[in-house]
């Protein structure tokens, strides 16, 4: 299960990252709260390459090298196959960033950041719901990776 980004329809507007940040860290979807009074931390970066753009978000690989390399076991896979980070255990050693072939993990001081498919919320991942042009889809829903 993962979010797939289509460069054909991605407009590079960045609304996905804004809603991602607002959907985590206790902001409960409030963009104003996250951006005006908080420290918004989007979980993926937009890659813009001239006329093309896409959201470079974690693919929750079945044999994830980040889970393999994590020195504290903070990176784990849950029963639905979602690779997530237990933030209190992470020591920001960046081994996971080093071994992800796609740069899906972002550095952070208290813990590294990456897509967790909004596992703490119900409904669609925030980015998928926010994309104004249908460039993001959740695929392999329900399938255990």
């Amino acid at each position: 299960m993962k979010v797939v980004s289509s460069a054909e329809y991605c407009l590079g507007c960045g609304l996905c990252r804004i809603h991602c940040a607002a959907g985590h860290d206790g902001y409960n979807g409030s963009i104003l709260k996250a951006y005006k009074r908080g420290t918004p931390r989007p979980r993926a970066d937009l890659i813009v390459d001239q006329d093309q753009s896409w959201l470079n978000t974690c693919q929750h690989c079945p044999d994830a090298p980040c889970v393999n390399g994590c020195i504290t076991g903070a990176l784990q896979r849950d029963e639905r196959g979602v690779v997530y980070i237990e933030e209190e255990i992470c020591v920001s050693c960046y081994t996971c960033i080093m071994v992800c072939p796609y740069g899906h993990i972002l550095p952070g001081e208290q813990a590294v950041l990456k897509c967790d498919l909004c596992r703490d919320r119900s409904g669609q991942p925030a980015c998928v719901a926010a994309c104004p042009n249908g460039a993001l889809r959740l695929v392999n829903e329900g399938e255990i990776a």
Binding site: I47, D49, G69, G73, E88, V91, C93, Y102, P107
Partner: protein, 420 residues
């Protein structure tokens, strides 16, 4: 099927996962020589720095072992009887095996210099117990000397600095992190550390430690030290293997399925000699991601699979006093060098015939993963590409074909090995 694993570190945990992916019923026993449960060895420097408490040291939880049906035996293995297929423990207990995994790791190298055994203020830092004992000796304001500027040495020095000690690092080679960094990058790191209060001495060796709490160098300089940490390197624990006749060299010798010269005995982790896939040379690469990967594959093979392990890539990520250092590939590889630097960010690329063979990145972690992929896949690009890329590195500056292949992987629910 009875599986026995000697060691309870990273490779052991990987092996449990590997075995259970194929065999849910076989009995698994883990011989935990250190008798501390599964903990992450790199975390001991965080413990020493006060950044991690005892309950935060674990690598895999007790629930993990329970869920996988693993019996953990807190005892030390003293002998392998590979005729009777038994492991004899210190307590005298004999544990039978059908398949055995040697994951008993390495030990620090102790130099033979006078004074090395002077007392508890001259210590190696390798086990959690070492960290606990050192912790009691840390006194802010006191002086410490760290022998060796490898990763363990510098992480130890960082921990002591962060706890307020005055630290001097003594390195025999002419630069710090000689196995990891180039000269230029090593100087940048060294300057960064020295700016933050660490003293670094290169090109000197410790010849003697005296009872007046002084460390003597080969240029006759003496440094005061209430605490000395010995971190000049580690070597695999080979005695168990050698004693039962397994082939060993720098480490336990294994084939591409991680089997030793005894077909019922496998080996994985810091104890083995494997191949550096970049140079093709045999090497002991004591790196956590490799240890887990090797454990996983060895475990799968012990349970009947035939996954081959081609060897590893020498990669490392470490943060020292706020500087992030990530490097891949080793200094022995020659090639063309490309440099980029902007404020605190530094990137050094080494290419050979258009293929990336090495890189060193300071404070720019995000580009490092795809660069490793470029190394592993040995993708070839013209010189003009490297020149352009090195002039402004960034994820969006990677070649289009890299991202196109990624999108294909995305659509097909691919995994890393089938990536590019």
């Amino acid at each position: 099927m009875k599986y026995v694993i000697i060691g309870n570190g990273i490779a052991a945990a990987g092996a449990v996962e590997g075995i259970r992916s194929r065999d849910r019923n076989g009995a698994i026993a883990v011989i935990d020589g250190e008798q501390r449960g599964s903990y992450s060895r790199p975390l001991i420097t965080y413990y020493l720095a006060g950044k991690r408490k005892a309950e935060q040291m674990r690598y895999r939880s007790p629930a993990f072992f329970h869920q996988h049906g693993v019996t953990v035996i807190p005892d030390r293995a003293v002998k392998i009887d590979n005729q009777a297929r038994q492991v004899i423990l210190q307590s005298g207990q004999a544990v039978e095996y059908d398949r055995l995994l040697l994951a008993n790791g390495a030990s620090p190298i102790i130099p033979e210099i006078p004074g090395i055994a002077l007392g508890d203020w001259v210590k190696t830092l390798y086990t959690w117990q070492d960290a606990e004992q050192l912790d009691l000796l840390v006194t802010p304001g006191h002086k410490a000397v760290v022998m060796g500027s490898g990763l363990i040495g510098l992480k130890a020095a960082e921990a002591l600095c962060q706890r307020g000690m005055k630290v001097t690092v003594v390195e025999k080679q002419s630069q710090i992190l000689p196995r990891l960094l180039s000269r230029t990058s090593a100087d940048l790191v060294s300057n960064h550390l020295q700016d933050r209060g660490m003293e670094i001495i290169t090109g000197q060796e410790v010849t003697r430690i005296n009872e007046y709490h002084q460390v003597e160098l080969d240029n006759d300089r003496r440094i005061e030290a209430q605490l000395v940490i010995v971190a000049i390197g580690t070597k695999p624990n080979l005695s168990l293997a050698a004693a039962c006749g397994l082939a060993v060299d720098r480490g336990i010798l294994v084939d591409s399925y991680l089997r030793t010269s005894d077909t019922n005995i496998y080996a994985a982790g810091d104890v083995i000699e494997t191949t550096d896939i970049l140079t093709g040379f045999p090497s002991v690469m004591a790196l956590l991601p490799l240890a887990h990967q090797e454990g996983l594959i060895a475990g799968q093979n012990m349970a009947g699979a035939a996954c081959s392990y081609p060897g590893g890539l020498f990669i490392n990520s470490v943060n020292l006093l706020g500087m992030n250092i990530i490097a891949a590939g080793s200094p022995q590889i020659p090639g063309q060098t490309w440099l980029w630097q902007q404020r605190e960010q530094y990137l050094e690329l080494v290419t050979e015939c258009g293929r990336l063979v090495r890189y060193i990145a300071l404070n720019m972690p995000q580009i490092t993963g795809p660069l490793i992929s470029l190394i592993e896949q040995q993708l070839k690009f013209p010189e003009s590409f490297w020149q352009e890329f090195a002039s402004q590195p960034g994820l969006n500056r990677l070649p289009k074909l890299y991202w196109e292949a990624l999108k294909e992987v995305q659509e097909n629910d691919g995994c890393r090995c089938g990536a590019i």
